[in-house]
Amino acid sequence: MGKTPGRSVGAAALRMRGGAAILCPMARLLAATLRFDDRLVREVLARHLFTPTSGRETGYLLAGLLTGTAGFTIVVIAFSLALAFGILIIGLPVAVLAAAVDRRWCSLERRRAAVVLGRAIPEPYPAIRTGGWLARRLAVLSDRQTWLDGLWMFISLPVGAAGFVVAALAWVGLPALLAAPVYVWAIPGWVHANDVAISILAPLLAAPAAVLGAWLLHPTALAVAGLAELMLGPSRREQLERRVQTLSETRAGAVDAAVTELQRVERDLHDGAQARLVALAMDLGLAEQRLAQEDAETAREHVASAREQARAAMTELRELVRGIGPSILQDHGLDAALTALVSGRHPPVELRVDLPPAPAGPRETAAYFVVAEALANARKHSGASRVSVRAWEDAARRLVVEVVDDGRGGASLDAGSGLSGLRKRVAALDGQLIVSSPAGGPTTVRAELPGGAGLPAGGELPG
């Protein structure tokens, strides 16, 4: 590594927003190196190289040179072959094959970039279902994204090389450049007229270059992955179309969920309170009949039974009302509502809530019902002896509730289960409901609800 990488890194620094802000500390670093004061260097390297994300970003950039080289080679060969055979009839099959290989390759690139970005890059290929085999293949060839894929593979070599340089500089730039005089001395023939200048300048620039590399590691990885997303991901229009699709689906789901909920209420009323009241009326009727026959003893039994039915009807109505909308949630928020929900439960529930105080909105209500349903399942079906409920807001400001029980598992999101209705309710808020319940347990029910209605799942649309 000679001057070229240094120039490229310098150019990258200038391209970057705030390039001037970097050049000033650079001068300080150069001064520090001249004074043999390495404290500042160590500090900067420590702060920028040992971050939670630097590992995967380094991997992404280093591998980028390999994949870039391979991608470039593939696309150049494929393109040349298709062009060369273009005059012959076999040019077409070659092009079709090339397009297929390109797509596979770019799927790999999408997955690689997704690791750095922390979000999946959906495949933007339009579904082609009409026409025969040949027509479909030709449609793939004329698809805009096929060509964008090819373009990405073409530029991924220089992009990958630049990324590789940044990562290499960050991690090994300091020792490598400090050792420059050794190469000059050890490798005969490498030495030119300016070998003396190199031997002096390279060690001097070692610290600033390494620090620059460390500084640029994170932005470079994000920039390369972002470029991949831009070229390989769906366009804004496609994203909007998907969004509309998702919204229509979740809206239908929300309507479904509402209907299911109403049916549940109707069923609970019919089988519960309504039946109790009929039984109560029946008991009173029988008591009346007995009193007319002056059979006070039996009449008293019927009255006692009637009172029991009245009590049970009141309990069932109370539970039903609570199931429709707990007033404590509206009045005192999710924390208080969950506390009330879990108190006196059997099996005992361990509750941990770590939420900023906020008025209860649709997502708090949905979270509440997820917990209520999961607890009901744990009590009714799982035979759990311990249940824990946690609620918190994650880094993406999503409200997360998680219910874990040590029961026998087997909970499912299948249609008809209480959880499936809740999944639709959660999806209508752009959230997701995840159920893990292997046979034998444990069961984890987790709902993630993004803050603010209308945000697409997984982040904002690119502006």
């Binding site: 089988d271 009326a281 029946m282 008991d283 009173l284």
Partner: protein
Amino acid sequence: MGAAGEAPMRVVICEDLALLRDGLRRLLHDNGMEVVAEVADGARFVSAAVGHKPDVCVVDVRLPPTFRDEGLRAALAARERIPGLPVLILSQHVEQTYAAELLADGVGGVGYLLKDRVADVDDFVAAVRRVAGGGTVLDPEVVAQILARRRSTALDSLTPREREVLALMAEGRSNQAIAEALVVTPGAVEKHVSSIFGRLGLAAGDEHNRRVLAVLAFLRSGR
């Protein structure tokens, strides 16, 4: 009509909620009937009805698996196997179309009551006996629905008084009971009844059968 004589009346109960099933059994038993079978779904009901040939069946309209009108379907199926099998349908809410479906075969021995009616034990037991005797008992609620929604039909040819008499007939009341309700003499009621039969074009014949057909005409007028 009721056969409250020597042998106790034999009843099959079909109700999915154990609470109400037990209550009904107790109620009927206390009133001198014998519950020969208690089932919780439509399919079992049909086989129980065919197997026991009871004097009367008490069936909840809403049964598993769909909790809609399986009870009604099962009752109709049972009556297809045993024509005229007396069936009293109970429901949390009443719909005249259901009643019309039950009565459509014109045989009678059909009752359709709100579950609430079990509270008036004597009336309820009387209704069960009337259905067992081949009578027709419609819930006053159904009758009220029909009167409220009546469209232009043959019933328009009836006088208001005759419509009142017919409505009470639909509830399963005897001429005597109708006379009491309207505070008229039984003779006057009989005159109204035969006038109703005439206006509805029900040829002279079996009085009981004509009552069923008149009630059916009344039911259909509400659609």
